[in-house]
């Protein structure tokens, strides 16, 4: 029983990181149909920027803020340079373009930060034991911050005019333009959201899961799987998908074999794409138009 609880808890905190990365995929995909393969690199870059900032003597919180802001800026620049100039964006074109950006960012990170994996200083070091389950303070931070960020993003889409205008672009792009919403501004805003949320995921995960120039690949793919579980168009679906994936992974690693951990995501992806292409929490009627 203690083992199960331990695995569940570890799975939830891992899943919360996936959830944040998944929100980034959803934010961009709904507005422009772009699948951003550089989403994982946003997280890795944020981790590395924060680590090197702490290394050069900046206080942890300042380093984290710096990392999130710089990655948000990178996301915005990426949109203007790579997405905005394309006249007829299709999902396939977007895959090729963002794969290019992802590769470029990885090379840049390798060049600047070197090949080693490092962990950021945790917000609160150490751990405690609760009924035999060992809990790291950082894991609590992950759950807390990921929860707050997810709710904030959800609130943004449901309650604010800017959020509603993004949903309008996703549902009826022509009608959105006719009421005066600029699709190019909407796309830029979606990248800003994805960059910010991805960066937060990166700095939260770094103390436990470590960050290197190539850690964005796995994180990005897991986030993508989580987003797909939720149908790629729903923030709620992305969060649930992330948590589910995290838990399934740790349960597999704990009860079957650690070697199978990474296979879980892709097995899930195949099953969902074959059986329920709209996502396991999605309704087909919500499909992007």
């Amino acid at each position: 029983m203690t083992d199960l609880l331990q695995l569940l808890f570890a799975g939830l905190s891992q899943g919360a990181v996936y959830a944040l990365v998944a929100i980034g995929f959803v934010a961009i995909f709904t507005v422009s149909g772009v699948i951003n393969l550089a989403q994982g690199e946003f997280a890795a870059l944020a981790g590395l920027v924060a680590i090197s900032a702490v290394g050069s003597g900046l206080p942890l919180l300042a380093a984290v803020v710096l990392a999130v802001l710089s990655v948000a800026l990178v996301a915005v620049i990426m949109e203007r340079l790579v997405i905005f100039p394309v006249k007829r964006m299709t999902t396939l074109v977007s895959l090729i373009l963002t794969l290019g950006v992802s590769t470029g960012l990885k090379a840049l990170m390798l060049l600047v930060y070197g090949p080693n994996a490092e962990g950021l200083t945790p917000l609160t070091p150490g751990s405690f034991s609760l009924g035999g389950v060992s809990i790291r303070y950082q894991e609590l931070w992950i759950l807390l911050i990921a929860g707050v960020v997810s709710l904030a993003v959800y609130w943004f889409y449901e309650r604010t005019l800017a959020g509603k205008s993004l949903r309008a672009c996703a549902e009826q792009p022509v009608a959105a333009r006719l009421v005066g919403i600029s699709l190019t501004k909407a796309s830029l805003l979606s990248f800003l959201i994805a960059g910010t949320v991805g960066a937060i995921a990166g700095v939260l995960a770094s103390p436990i899961y470590f960050t290197s120039w190539e850690s964005g690949l796995t994180l990005g793919l897991k986030g993508f799987v989580a987003a797909t579980l939720g149908g790629l168009i729903s923030v709620r679906g992305a969060v649930l998908g992330g948590l589910l994936l995290g838990v399934l992974e740790t349960l597999t690693a704990g009860y079957i074999s650690t070697g199978l951990r990474d296979a879980v995501a892709f097995l899930l992806l195949i099953i969902v794409l074959v059986a329920r292409p709209a996502g396991i929490f999605g309704r087909t009627a919500e499909a992007r138009v």
Binding site: L161, K164, S165, R167, A168, E171, Q172, V174, A175, A176, R177, L178, V179, G180, I181, S182, A285, E286
Partner: protein, 262 residues
Amino acid sequence: MSLEVRGLHAGYGRLAVLHGIDLTAGEGELVAVIGANGAGKSTLLRALSGLLPVTSGTVHLAGTDVTGYGPEKLARTGLAHVPENRLVFPSLSVADNLVLGGYTRRRGPAAARKEARDRAMALFPRLEPRLEQAAGTLSGGEQQMLAIARGLMAQPRVLVLDEPSVGLAPRLVGEIFSALGQLRDDGLTLVVVEQNARAAFAVADRVSVMDRGRVVLEGDPAALSTDPRVSGGFLGGGFAADADATTEAAPATGATRAADRR
């Protein structure tokens, strides 16, 4: 003139669809543009509202040259386009659809936004009890009302509508067109593109008949409705038919017959 179109050419890539359209609509005037399927009516509206680039010609809105404006800028300048098939935002509530309709006025006075909304509600009282419902759950007629109300939320000077009657029962068509007539009486300028000529003739101040990218006839609805060229040729039978499927099948024959008569 609220809306003045001169020598408008537009098309899709190398395919020219509009060959020099002239169209005017004065303040408080309801102009109907009718024609068979494929005559270029929707293309005209798409060019008017900036969805489609203009190849040549000019568009003036209340004296301002708006040729080449994109849809966002045109919406701000005072042209609202109610698109074909309504295109409401389905997962958003009716109230949110209206809020987004006023997107270009979001920094304007709240009182003006509220007034626009009150007027839209007075025009379509059926929407009032549905405000919190998702727009996608409304009936076709209610969605059309919502699309018009959303257009009005932009506080436009000119409202252009693309086939507001399509797919609606005759009773609802009558309801929609009498609302359009009411808007005209309140001083709004309207341009309505329609295949359902009977509904359009009943409220229009002036009618333009389009055929293959040109305005071929223009005038008073009473005079035009008895014109054999209208009932026989250019509409492909559309005048005789109410808003039903027979208009869908007719365009090819309509175009050939119109050509024979020249």
